[in-house]
């Protein structure tokens, strides 16, 4: 228990140091292309952290998180383009809507186990995708083009510089990390790990399994939707293909899984390795249209998931990652 407290303090210090370094990076890196990659990396780190709360800590493998991401993006974009509501309110609204929907969907789905649960999450997200694809008011397949109304923090639009987005993504990533850090030592965190390891045993010891899954789903969906809202503002154009596909749900989970599922640093590590690699291979060798970037990307995923089933985080600790957490 003592080493657990120590480790948590070390984690917090390390996170603060990394955040401080990340905040200084743009002073030296002026290249817009590189900044773009850094924004995406931070965004994926945060999204994957959000996924990790439900999938990693609570053990409920959702491959339908694109739904919450899309809801966040669409709520923000629709409110702004149709009613002129500032994106900040849209972001909050999208988060709340997503959390409520996650609770409503969790009610029937959390009784399912294993593959049946995973497929249910995929299918629900796919229904959402198809509905948005056919919803004329929301632009259907064409999506929504968010009009540029000048750079300002109030409208959360910046056309001249990527830096404001970078700092928002950094804060978002830190918040997602901190929430996970805080939850790890809370009653919920312990419940979730118990539910993940053995739901029946947890139930018999007085953990309300169903409620703890619902709690994890709500937090996870809320954070994912914030990410969606951010993405909508960042690229200022969304369509169902770019924010709601099944592929995207997998991409959100991937950094957490390859980095170390159910660990504090796994999603961050996974994103820092994967996202720049994806973006760089795509732009340097993907242009040929011959799929070489896909070949490399696929091969890396296969190799990492086979070689490090615990995630890459295991390379950094003397003991296996799972031992660091009190069982």
């Amino acid at each position: 228990m003592d080493s657990f407290t120590q480790r948590r303090r070390r984690d917090l210090i390390l996170a603060a140091a990394l955040a401080a370094i990340a905040a200084c990076v743009p002073l030296f890196v002026k290249d817009v292309y590189v900044q773009n990659i850094m924004v995406l990396t931070l965004m994926y780190a945060a999204l994957s952290q959000a996924w990790n709360i439900l999938g990693g800590y609570c053990g409920q493998i959702s491959l339908g998180h694109a739904l919450y991401f899309g809801l966040g993006a669409y709520t923000t974009a629709l409110l702004f383009t149709k009613f002129g509501v500032l994106p900040w309110f849209g972001m909050l609204g999208g988060g709340i809507i997503s959390a409520l929907i996650a609770l409503a969907l969790g009610y029937p789905t959390f009784r399912l186990r294993g593959h049946y649960f995973v497929i249910a999450t995929i299918v629900i997200a796919e229904i959402g995708f198809l509905l948005f694809h056919n919803w004329d008011y929301a632009g259907a397949a064409l999506g929504i083009d968010i009009p540029v109304r000048g750079d300002s923090w109030a409208k959360f639009q910046f056309t001249r510089s990527k830096l404001p987005f970078y700092y928002f993504a950094l804060v978002f990533c830190c918040v997602a990390w901190f929430i996970t850090w805080w939850l790890e030592d809370s009653k919920w965190g312990f419940w979730w790990r118990a539910v993940k390891d053995n739901p029946d045993a947890a139930e018999s010891l007085g953990v309300v399994v169903f409620n703890s899954k619902m709690g994890a789903a709500a937090v996870s969906a809320f954070l994912t939707a914030i990410g969606g809202a951010f993405y909508a503002q960042f690229v200022s154009y969304i369509d169902p293909e770019s924010v709601m596909t099944f592929q995207f749900s997998l991409l959100m989970a991937l950094p957490a899984v390859l980095g170390g599922i159910g660990t504090l640093w796994g999603p961050v590590l996974g994103a820092v390795i994967l996202i720049p690699m994806t973006e760089l291979t795509r732009s340097f060798i993907g242009g040929s249209g011959r799929g070489v970037d896909l070949i490399l990307y696929g091969a890396v995923i296969v190799v990492i998931s086979l070689a490090r089933p615990d995630g890459l985080i295991g390379l950094f600790s003397r003991r296996p990652a799972s031992k660091g957490v009190p069982q």
Binding site: L131, L250, A299, D310
Partner: protein, 277 residues
């Protein structure tokens, strides 16, 4: 169409359902089978109908090799085995799509003329496309064969026993890797059958698998994991639901009906219609 979904699902049912291994590269296996059919036709003018057994044989070897090279190791993971399988096969799917783009180019291909394509036959005044009809017959035969195989042969029983308890079967002298490699080969050969038929009337391109794979997962889960008959029944239900939904809703929403039926079924019966695990 329902029987074709059934045929597609049966290969997956064997891998996903009976061996309890998640295979997210299922659609890419199908893509490969369709390309094999296409190239046999283009280079050696083998009619798709005749190439189906060849494609199935080729896919058998491919499936067994993939098991030995990748899946064997994915099943050995001690921690979060489900995720390792999902992402190892997802990585494989991306890899295969990339390779297909590299070697076959992203162009859409189709088989221009074949013994079955474009012809119709009239049965009791109802006109049916011959290719679909042959596909339906093949899938019924494949289901029958697999069902018999699983229940009546030693290998089928060994496969099921290995899934239940790999340690115990090792004690009675069954080599898990051998059994599962053959199982993967067999499952892939069934996908080969489906791909051979589908190549006749669908466009072939590197991403073709993705659209069918999700429906195949849903079909297997709807029928219930561990049940061959369930996958067959699931296929028929999915085909019927799709046809019905397409009449009520716009065509682009036809899959919504399938997904909704899956959700309804598992909310009432959490193990699918005929599932045992």
């Amino acid at each position: 169409m329902g029987l074709l979904y059934g045929l597609l699902a049966v290969g997956l049912a064997l891998i996903f359902g009976l061996m309890d291994v998640t295979n997210f590269a299922h659609g890419e296996f199908l893509m490969l089978a369709m390309y094999l059919t296409f190239f046999l036709f283009m280079f050696w003018a083998v009619d798709p109908l005749l190439s189906i057994p060849l494609v199935a044989a080729g896919m058998f070897v491919f499936g067994a090799v993939i098991y030995l090279v990748i899946i064997r190791f994915a099943m050995r993971a001690k921690a979060n085995i489900g995720m390792v399988q999902i992402f190892a096969t997802f990585g494989l799917a991306i890899l295969m799509r990339g390779l297909a783009q590299f070697f076959f180019t992203p162009d859409y291909r189709s088989i221009p003329a074949s013994m079955l394509g474009g012809k119709t036959i009239s049965i009791f005044g109802v006109f049916l496309p011959v290719a679909q009809l042959v596909g339906a017959l093949i899938s019924i035969a494949a289901f029958g064969a697999l069902y018999f195989f699983m229940k009546k042969t030693d290998f089928g029983r060994a496969l099921e026993a290995t899934r239940e308890d790999a340690g115990a079967v090792a004690l009675v002298g069954i080599d898990k890797n051998k059994v599962f490699a053959l199982g993967w080969g067999l499952g892939s050969a069934l996908i080969g059958l489906a791909g051979g038929v589908m190549a006749i009337f669908f466009y072939i391109y590197p991403d073709v698998g993705a659209s069918f794979a999700l429906i195949a997962y849903v079909t297997v889960a709807l029928g219930g994991f561990g049940s061959v008959f369930g996958a067959f029944a699931g296929g028929i239900i999915v085909g019927l639901v799709e046809a019905t939904t397409a009449m009520i809703l716009p065509p682009s929403l036809k899959s919504v009906g399938i997904y909704a039926v899956y959700l309804l079924v598992v909310f009432v019966r959490p193990r699918g219609l005929f599932g045992s695990i």
